[in-house]
Symmetry: D3
């Protein structure tokens, strides 16, 4: 059975030694969806254009959140991110968030992409909560990663 690499044989948490891993270009894409109301999505989008600073605020939060990943996720390595994008797609009553993170370091950027999505989601939550306190962030997950020894991984159908 597979084991958690973040725990040593005694079960103690550790930041795994990646000294021996090669520096390599690595990319990760993650996404998630804030489910809210049609009214809120209408406030966010008027005629297809972002309204005021609402989406920009969440985008900046996601990008800055990606940089905070090692401060937030206890066993993540601090790395030099070489790029982050956060995109929003407005649906009928939901906002779909996609984040892409890139590095050229010894370890992957899955957590940076997931953190960008989560923090952008928190900023959206904060923006809409006075109008829709019942909004829900769903499906925060990794979609794709590539680079390093493991090569390309894409999310299997049905998960």
């Amino acid at each position: 059975m597979s084991e958690f690499s973040h725990l040593d044989e005694s079960g103690a948490a550790r930041m795994v030694d990646v000294s021996e891993k090669p520096a390599a270009a690595r990319t990760a894409v993650a996404s998630g969806t804030l489910h809210t109301t049609a009214e809120v999505v209408a406030l966010l989008a008027e005629g297809g254009l972002p309204k005021g600073d609402a989406l920009a605020t969440a985008r900046i939060a996601g990008i800055m959140g990606a940089k905070r990943t090692p401060d937030l996720v206890p066993l993540c390595h601090p790395i030099a991110l070489s790029g982050v994008d956060v995109e929003f797609e407005l649906g009928h009553s939901e906002v779909h968030v996609t984040a892409t993170a890139r590095t050229t370091e010894r370890t992957g950027v899955e957590m940076e992409a997931l953190t960008a999505v989560s923090v952008a989601g928190l900023a959206l939550h904060d923006m809409v909560k006075a109008v829709d306190a019942a909004a829900s962030m769903d499906g925060v997950r990794l979609d794709r990663k590539e680079g390093g020894k493991a090569g390309v991984w894409t999310r299997p159908e049905g998960r």
Copy 2:
């Protein structure tokens, strides 16, 4: 139609002035669920006991994350949190996370509770990703809040 209080009349983001709101005891409860595999849940729980530091790591991440809320969510007020709890419930192939945040300040702690859940979820994601890269965090949402002028709010059925 309701408006976003975080944007002024021109659409510019702002940290709303809460000087006039009364200091009051306020509580918020949020939750979410990491969907993973039965194998991962078995690794997290052996005989009903937490395995090593896995859940403790995520719990600490959530509590510390709650304290970082104003650093992460751009328009949140910095407040003196008076207490935070993060609890996990292990299901068949999922981990349910619940966080409670408390303050006695001029503004609510919904975002602190939601941030605790999201960051605990990120730490779980990080812990399990080598075993289950397809894990997904779902239903990150506010369950209940009380305190201040608005009184008690509980999540309506069906949302």
Copy 3:
């Protein structure tokens, strides 16, 4: 001759004890101006409207920067900010930044307002530097403060 309150009689830096000061509503307004080129201002404003996320990015940076004041300015007290606004006014070849900070604590928010202006200025600098490396941030200063024992102060003419 007046002395620096941030240094004790031996010249050692300290965070002054404000325990005896009353909690009170306090406001500070600060401003500054990024001098750049007419080309850059035209990129920032097209027909009077902000272009994309440029100004929103700087506004969010300023608001988040205000919250980071005690992390940046060594002898500043950590306080619960009750509100922050950052506004931009576009001139011919300059961007004027004004920030207002509010609290209800035992110490003033001059540094929070000045930090909001400086950090918004840094974000503008970062945005425009590929087009105008020679941009300059000038006149970062306090315009007005009120609240607490000292009452209202407004910047004297000619300074």
Copy 4:
């Protein structure tokens, strides 16, 4: 007409992908001037020697501020700074601040040098504000940068 590289074609903010840029030794020098009163400068300098911890406090603030650049400036890349200096020159009624930042990474350190100057300026502002509330930080700008594909840039006369 030149465009802002920090915005994509739709105007959305992004942290630009620098994966393809070469790692190289890079240096940036920035400066600025705090205009205050002759009385304040006399307090800062007695017989040519720094008084107590005043300038040291501002110097440390500037150095630590440079390290905080990616936390403050939303679209800046987190990088491994390889050195930072902050120097002060006392004039009649002003303090001139110069900062030099160095790295061997894929992107320049202009923002780190500018942030060091701005944060040192904020710390000076904080130190002197009880004596001179009307102090002003001016001319925060890049003086010189070198390294990477762009080679050496020096500030043109008259800007």
Copy 5:
């Protein structure tokens, strides 16, 4: 037998709810000693005067460290510190560090005073390590606290 208040009945870590505790003036004093060599102490003190920025750097580190306490100590409450002092006393081959922290909040500032001492000690360690890699920080401990329901506590003789 006494129990750890930071763990609930199941052993899970939590940030204890202090909502019911009264806001009160509270003070804590902590200290510690860096043991190094006579040569290093001579470098730090020449004729009784601090040399350059060495001690100022450590003092600022301690004061800023106190403000970072809730970011560092997982179960500490974020509080509004109302004052921090860090003092050094130079002995033959050691530097004694004393820190005083003050607040008017619902919980004590023991950890803030201990953190100021520890972080000032780390900065001293960093300053001297090229000359004395074997320096040691000892006796980091609480000396006195007062305020709140518990009243005054002073360290017992012989501990």
Copy 6:
């Protein structure tokens, strides 16, 4: 006589330029001991097993603290840590803390290892202080470092 490399010839603090130093695998081991009471150690260890989250909390604090080193120690370079371990050994009335930090950068990780020990010690202090307010952290020191031009250093006997 040796000089502090962190100060320039005028005594001003600086972050030393390490651009010319080679990137290399580097390791540092540091340790320290929290002296408390047998009662507290019994609470931490029941039958050899960690009780609840107490030690995990301190371990996570130490690992996260190591990542915060450049934020805490003013003249430390920000680096990409490639691994951190924190271990506890329970004695009769003391807890011994050992931390190992690794990097492949241009500068050593002594301060990261020392910070991990200090912050883990602070978290233990916080955990036990309600039961033993007189606990003391002692012997925080570097035990061994290797890598880079200086090769292997081990702590001499008798220091």
